[in-house]
Symmetry: C2
Subunit: 429 residues, 2 copies
C-alpha cells in the first residue's frame, strides 16, 4: 500500500484504507481507547485504537517511535485536519524510542533554551522549531529566485582564506597544511572581484565570526545572503535590489511556508515599492541626537522605525550617508560631501536588518584608502588585481538569515533561528 | 538613456541609438578604423570607431577598461549577434585599465593553469572560464528545484564541528576560542539527524578536506550537493532520488546556460528513466577481476561504463553492494548477505560521480557498529541521540559540484571547475 501523508488524509475517500508513516507524536491511553497522534513532514494525523491487542501493542511504543499505521479513514472534525484513522494496525519501522528529553507534543516546549539546544537533535522536531526553520528555508529560496530573475549569477567563494576580510579581529584561524589561514568573515572581497566576471552575483553560505561576546544577538557561524552588482549610479540602485530581494523572500515565505507563518503567528510585513530613505544627518536631528554622533543607538533606531510607520506607513526605513569614519575602507564616499558615505542601513521593526552601499571601484582609490587606514597592499593583492584591470561602479549588501528569521518570529535569542548554533560556549551538538 | 545589454542589440530598431556598458574585450586599430568589442554579462557587442578624435580617445583605453558607449545600431552579419554600434561616443566608467596578465580576447587563453589560477580575479573573466561556472550555477539551481518538488527541505548545517565526521584523517583544525574544533568534511551526521526533523533534506554548501595529495582530482574545499531522505525501502529508493536530482541538474543547464553549453561544446547526457544497476560482485566478474577485490580500479570503472552504454544505452551506471569493509560505519548492510552493503557508486563516463546508500537507523545498530570499529560513543553523542529517539529507515547521497562540472566539460583538472580553488599549495587568491 502506498504511503499517505498526514496532510493528505482528507483526500482519501472516507471508509477506505490508508497507510501513514511517521513518529508517534503523542499517545494518550484512556480507559476504553488509546489516541495516537502520528507526526510526519506534512503535519499530524490522529489514530484511534480500541482493539485490546493493539492497545497493548501500542503501550510498548513510546513517543518518538517510528511506525507505519494502516487503518480506515473517517471524518472527525475534532481531529487534526478533520480526518482520523480507525481500526489500525501498527508496525515498527525502527526500535521503540527512548523517552524524549523534552515533551515534544506540548504546544510549546517547557524547557529553557540551553536545554533545547543541548538536545537539538530531538527538540528541533517540535513543530514550532521546525516551523522557524521553514521560514529560513523559504527565505533562501525567495532570495535566490528574486535575484536570478534580475540577472544575478549564484557564486560559491572560498571559506578558507589567506587574508582576514574586514580586520584582524574576531577571525577564526585554521591550520592550513601547517600555514596559518582564516575562516571567511564574509564573501566581501570575492563577491566584489566577481562583479568583474558576472556583473551581478549572489551567494548564500556560511560566514564565521569569532565573536567573544555571549549575547542573544551573536553566533559564531551564520548564513549570509550576499549580493553585489555592477554598473550602478550609486547606493540607491543597491537599495532597489535589496528591496526586490526582501520582497522576494517574503513572497516565498507566504507561498512555501504558510503553515509555519500560521503556527508562529508571524505578521508578514509589506515592502513598499520604494523603501523610504532618510539621511543619517537628518536622522540624528529627528531623534534629537548630537550632530557629531557616529552611529545610531538602539533607542534611535526604534524611534526612526516608529517615524517611518507614522510618516510613510512603512515597516522598512533606509538610513543613508553613515559617517565614512565608521565604515570599512572599501566604502564609497558621498560625492558632494566626503564626511558621509554612499552606504545605508536598512531598519526593520526598530532594528538594523542589513547594511549595504556603494564601494570604491578605482584602483587608485583603493591604494589611497589602504594607505589612509595604515594597511599594506600585499594581503589584498588578488582583490586589488580586479580593480587594476577594470571594475565598474558597484555595490551590494548582506542579510543575516538567522537575524532576519528571528526578527520575523520575534525570537528573543538568535540561536532559536539556527539549526545547530555555535557560540563562545557551544560547539556541540 | 537606458542601458542595452549586448545580447539585446538585435532588439533595437536599426538606425536608433543605444547605450552599452561593459569591459573593452578587444581593441583592434586598423588604418582607417578601430574595432572595439565590448563584453558585458550577456555577451559581446562590436563598436566601429571612425571619427579621428574618438579613435584617439579609444587609443588611451586599454583592454579591460570599463566604458559606456552610445552609438547607432546597424545590422552587420559578421558582428557578434549580427548588430554593431557605429558613430559611437565613449565615456570612462572607471580609470583606464592596466594591461591584463593574459590576453582575454583570444578564443582560448594561452597561459598554463598555474598562471590562470594565480590571476583568477582577471582570468575568470574569459568567456570560457565564465561559461564553466555558469554550468555550476545552473546545476545548483536544478538540484534544488528537483528536490524541492519532491518535498525536500533545504538545510544549513554547521561547518565548524566538534567531531571529525568520517575519520580523524584529512581534517582541518580550527582554533575555536582556544578549544580544538574541525572543519566539516561533509554534512553527513547533521543531514541524517535532520531526517528526524524534516524527513527529506538537502544542502548545498562547502566541505573541507585536508587532502595531502597534489593531484588533478583533489581540492581542499569544494561544494557538496547533499541529500538525505527517510521512510525508504532500501538504497534503490535513494538511487531513484539521485536520478531525479541529476536529471534536474541537466534540465536546468539546458534551460539556464545554453550559451555556456554551446561555447564549451558540452554534450549533455540523457538520464534514463531507470539508471541501470549492477551488483559489485557481478561487476567484478564482468571486468574479470578477482572476486575478493575490495574496490573497482579506474580501468574497471571505464570498462563498466562502456558495458552500460553497449548493454543499456546509458552513460550512467549504478554499482550496488560495495563490500561493507570499505564503507563507513553508518552504512546499512545488504540484508541477505552482510558482506555486502546497501550502498552504491554512480559511474558517469567511466568515472565515479557520487556515492550513496542506505544508512543504519537503529540505535543499537549504531552502538554495535561503533564498538566493532573500535570507536567510542562519546564524540557522536548528538548524532546518537537522534537514533535513540526514533529514526526511520533512510539514506542519501552527495555529489561534488566541481567534479560534476569537470566531467561535463571534460576539464583535465578539477581546479578549472572552481572559482578560487584551494589546495596543498594554494591559499590565494
Amino acid at each position: 500500500m502506498q504511503r499517505t501523508l498526514a496532510s493528505q488524509l482528507a483526500q482519501v475517500p472516507p471508509g477506505e484504507t490508508a497507510k501513514v508513516e511517521g513518529w508517534i507524536h503523542r499517545r494518550r491511553a484512556l480507559a476504553a481507547v488509546t489516541f495516537v497522534v502520528i507526526r510526519d513532514r506534512s503535519g499530524l494525523a490522529q489514530v484511534v485504537v480500541k482493539d485490546p491487542q493493539t492497545v497493548e501493542q501500542v503501550a510498548g511504543m513510546g513517543e518518538e517511535t517510528v511506525v507505519e499505521v494502516a487503518g480506515t479513514v473517517i471524518a472527525n472534525p475534532s481531529a487534526p485536519g478533520g480526518f482520523e484513522l480507525v481500526d489500525p494496525t501498527f508496525e515498527l519501522l525502527s526500535e521503540p524510542a527512548h523517552t524524549p528529553p523534552v515533551e515534544l507534543w506540548r504546544p510549546t516546549m517547557s524547557a529553557g533554551l540551553p536545554t533545547l539546544l543541548d538536545n537539538a537533535p530531538v527538540t528541533l522536531r517540535h513543530p514550532r522549531s521546525k516551523a522557524s526553520w521553514m521560514l529560513a528555508s523559504a527565505s533562501m529560496q525567495g532570495f535566490r529566485r528574486a535575484l536570478t530573475e534580475e540577472g544575478f549569477t549564484e557564486i560559491q567563494t572560498p571559506k578558507i582564506v589567506g587574508t582576514s576580510t574586514e580586520s584582524g579581529a574576531n577571525v577564526f584561524t585554521v591550520d592550513y597544511f601547517g600555514q596559518q589561514a582564516y575562516l571567511a568573515q564574509s564573501p566581501q572581497l570575492y563577491k566584489q572581484t566577481l562583479v568583474g566576471v558576472f556583473e551581478r552575483v549572489f551567494e548564500v553560505g556560511p560566514v564565521f565570526r569569532a565573536e567573544p561576546h555571549d549575547t542573544v544577538r551573536h553566533i559564531a557561524e551564520y548564513v549570509s545572503l550576499d549580493a553585489e552588482l555592477g554598473f550602478i549610479e550609486d547606493h540607491r540602485d543597491v537599495l532597489a535590489v535589496l528591496r526586490t530581494a526582501v520582497d522576494g523572500m517574503l513572497t516565498a515565505i507566504a507561498e512555501l511556508a504558510p503553515a509555519a507563518v500560521d503556527l508562529l503567528a508571524v505578521e508578514l510585513p509589506t515592502v513598499p515599492d520604494q523603501i523610504p530613505v532618510i539621511h543619517f544627518a537628518d536622522a540624528l536631528k529627528l531623534v534629537g541626537a548630537p550632530e557629531d554622533e557616529p552611529d545610531l543607538a538602539p533607542a534611535h533606531e526604534r524611534a526612526l522605525s516608529a517615524w517611518a510607520i507614522a510618516e510613510h506607513g512603512s515597516e522598512f526605513l533606509a538610513v543613508e550617508g553613515y559617517p565614512m569614519r565608521k565604515r570599512p575602507f572599501y566604502t564609497h564616499p558621498q560625492p558632494d560631501d566626503p564626511r558621509w558615505s554612499n552606504s545605508f542601513d536598512l531598519l526593520f521593526r526598530g532594528l538594523e536588518l542589513t547594511t549595504g552601499g556603494q564601494r570604491l571601484h578605482r584602483y587608485t582609490d583603493y591604494q589611497a584608502a589602504l594607505a589612509a587606514t595604515g594597511q599594506s597592499e600585499e594581503p589584498y593583492a588578488g582583490y586589488l588585481q580586479a580593480f587594476k584591470h577594470g571594475m565598474p561602479p558597484h555595490g551590494g549588501f548582506a542579510i543575516g538569515l538567522e537575524r532576519w528569521v528571528a526578527r520575523l518570529t520575534g525570537a528573543e535569542n538568535i540561536r532559536s533561528a539556527r539549526l545547530f548554533p555555535r557560540d563562545l560556549n557551544r560547539l556541540m551538538p
